[in-house]
Subunit: 370 residues, 2 copies
């Protein structure tokens, strides 16, 4: 076994999920994640945890969903499994990113609604999502599989403790700040960014790839909060796939906190569908600052793209509870869609008028220009 | 997809497990059983059942067990899953029948003991075991994979209703009987069989591959009961693999209902480990008579071998509740290990002194000699 698979398992079990002896752990194994599952099981055995492995096959799901009449129940046995779990580890890595492409949207939505209680029970556990580098994901990323393995392990096998310390600086700035301004020069007016938003009273998450930091992705490496009342223009130049459609070069105009105009070079209809989902889909749910410098290229996979150093992302839709004051509801929506902008050049991020990041460099880094 | 996979799934879901709309079903998927899992999921979707798929990877188990210190707990989340399940479908079919060969016997036994409550919850559901014909199983059987597929589907895709009617005759004989004697000539004293056991008050199961018949294997095709107080010698000449070890030509001596002496030409240590699991492991749990003539050769797989016409098997360890009078506890053990003897020649099976089967032929069959 590639030694890096064992290191990945160790980071996942010890740093990310903080598994303790006697913990009841569910390991969800995608079709292509067998080797990582073996390494994770070894680590969980060492820790003395109790393990149930589930088979998260998209081909199995597709067959089930397409054959079903659409009147889904809550699965009592699945609910009982997750209500009794301390940790849930999702080992992604399928064999075809379009494996469920021919499942009707309404079937998907009906299943998702029936599954809400199970999903909530899962999220109440210490859950962590990661991926094993499969050929299918390499293909999505436009890479050879060996090359993609390097990419994934560069992103995952980091000094998380050191990164958490660095990210704490950004969290402190956002927690103390009231207003964020993102400015970026574009080649034309429609590709320029100048957006102001409020973060007063909101709490940033130091997303250091560990449940101990309210962070549930491995890799992670971003600091995010829940902004509101955006005003201005923003341009997202990082390509993405939304509901199976390629979307590129998105421009959004905000007035009074809402998207009032939008455009995209490709995939404008898919973008429009998302913005029309509900009222909250036109408001902001997240501002995130990518700080994982182990990720050095875009791979059309949000788990990696949004964490990349030299990027900032915003999400329309639902805000995360962890960013909100106790008992306060943030922006609500059925969607949460991240869009990313490259800030490596001609850009600055200001908090209350002070530049925190310029051309990708943070103010505590060498090469930062006030 | 091979159409026989869909037929297999249909027999499993409808004839064997009798799945109804709204049932909570666990599907346990071995490493090589993906295609059957897809077909079963499709059928379960059609029936409107709720499905959790578990990943029954022996490589994952091996890694976990070898890394563990051996102090196993009952897994509360796994117990909750099975306590809330209506049906459990085990789709066997691994990629290496020796995948757990290097797990120490004592680790295996400790895990098995800790798992007893979970196992009982699973057995309380409508469970069915079957296998998908993988290359590994073909290899174990000494066949090409296409040839092995023919073998499996010949055994599985039968007229189960007709076989159930024939087996009802054997069940009636055993239900009315008090004492069974199995006699078989061997080349030497140590390879001869003359074993007497009581079946008074016990109920035989017409194992017609359906939970409606208290039968939990697909294929099945045996009639079995729970004998006790065995006395005498028995020789098992059908080779088998126990806990990853080849075991061949087993001889057991019973006195006062317990194994007092044992030997095996190969694999004697593995046999000893099993007999030493607990007190019940030295007593009988089952007497079974193979009646599936769709199975025409030994394949080193107990699921098939014990059902083959012209064979009789005994299990040490746990007795099945279905064979016991209401409220009476039968032999209890963490293990249940079947051992098979070929009765096609020089053999007779007597119930209360009357010959029921001689040289493989049943008394209602052509060619039977009183």
């Amino acid at each position: 076994m590639d030694l890096r698979i064992r290191e990945h398992a160790e980071v996942l079990v010890d740093w990310s999920a903080r598994v303790e002896p006697g913990d009841d752990v569910v390991v969800s194994v995608a079709e292509g994640a067998h080797e990582l599952a073996v390494a994770v099981a070894e680590k969980l055995g060492e820790r003395g945890a109790n393990v149930v492995t589930t088979y998260a096959s998209e081909e199995v799901s597709r067959a089930y969903l397409r054959a079903h009449d659409g009147e889904f129940d809550t699965a009592a046995h699945e609910l009982a499994l997750y209500e009794n779990a301390d940790s849930v580890l999702f080992l992604g890595g399928g064999r075809n990113t379009f494996a469920t492409a021919d499942v009707p949207g309404e079937t998907r939505q009906a299943a998702s609604r029936a599954n809400q209680e199970v999903r909530e029970a899962r999220m109440d556990a210490d859950w962590v999502s990661t991926v094993h580098p499969t050929r299918s994901l390499a293909q999505q990323a436009g890479m050879a599989v060996e090359q993609y393995r390097e990419f994934v392990y560069d992103a995952v096998l980091r000094d998380w403790e050191a990164l958490a310390e660095e990210m704490a600086k950004m969290k402190a700035i956002l927690d103390e700040g009231s207003e964020v301004r993102l400015v970026k020069g574009g080649e034309s007016a429609s590709s320029a960014t100048d957006l102001t938003m409020s973060i007063e009273g909101r709490t940033a998450v130091n997303s250091a790839a560990s449940v101990a930091y309210d962070s549930h992705n491995l890799p992670s490496g971003e600091v995010f909060t829940a902004p509101y009342d955006p005003e201005g223009e923003v341009f997202f130049d990082v390509p993405m796939t939304l509901s199976g459609t390629r979307v590129r070069n998105v421009h959004l105009s905000f007035e009074d906190g809402e998207v009032v105009d939008y455009a995209a070079e490709t995939g404008e209809d898919a973008l429009g569908d998302i913005l029309d989902t509900d009222e909250g889909a036109r408001r902001l749910g997240e501002l995130g600052i990518g700080m994982n410098r182990g990720i050095d290229r875009f791979t059309d996979n949000v788990l990696f793209d949004e964490k990349m150093g030299d990027t900032v992302h915003l999400a329309v839709g639902r805000a995360y509870d962890a960013c909100l004051p106790e008992g306060e509801a943030g922006n609500d929506s059925a969607v949460h869609v991240d869009m990313i902008t490259d800030v490596s050049e001609a850009s600055r991020l200001e908090v209350d008028g002070e530049v925190v990041q310029r051309n990708g460099a943070f103010r505590w880094e060498d090469g930062f220009e006030e």
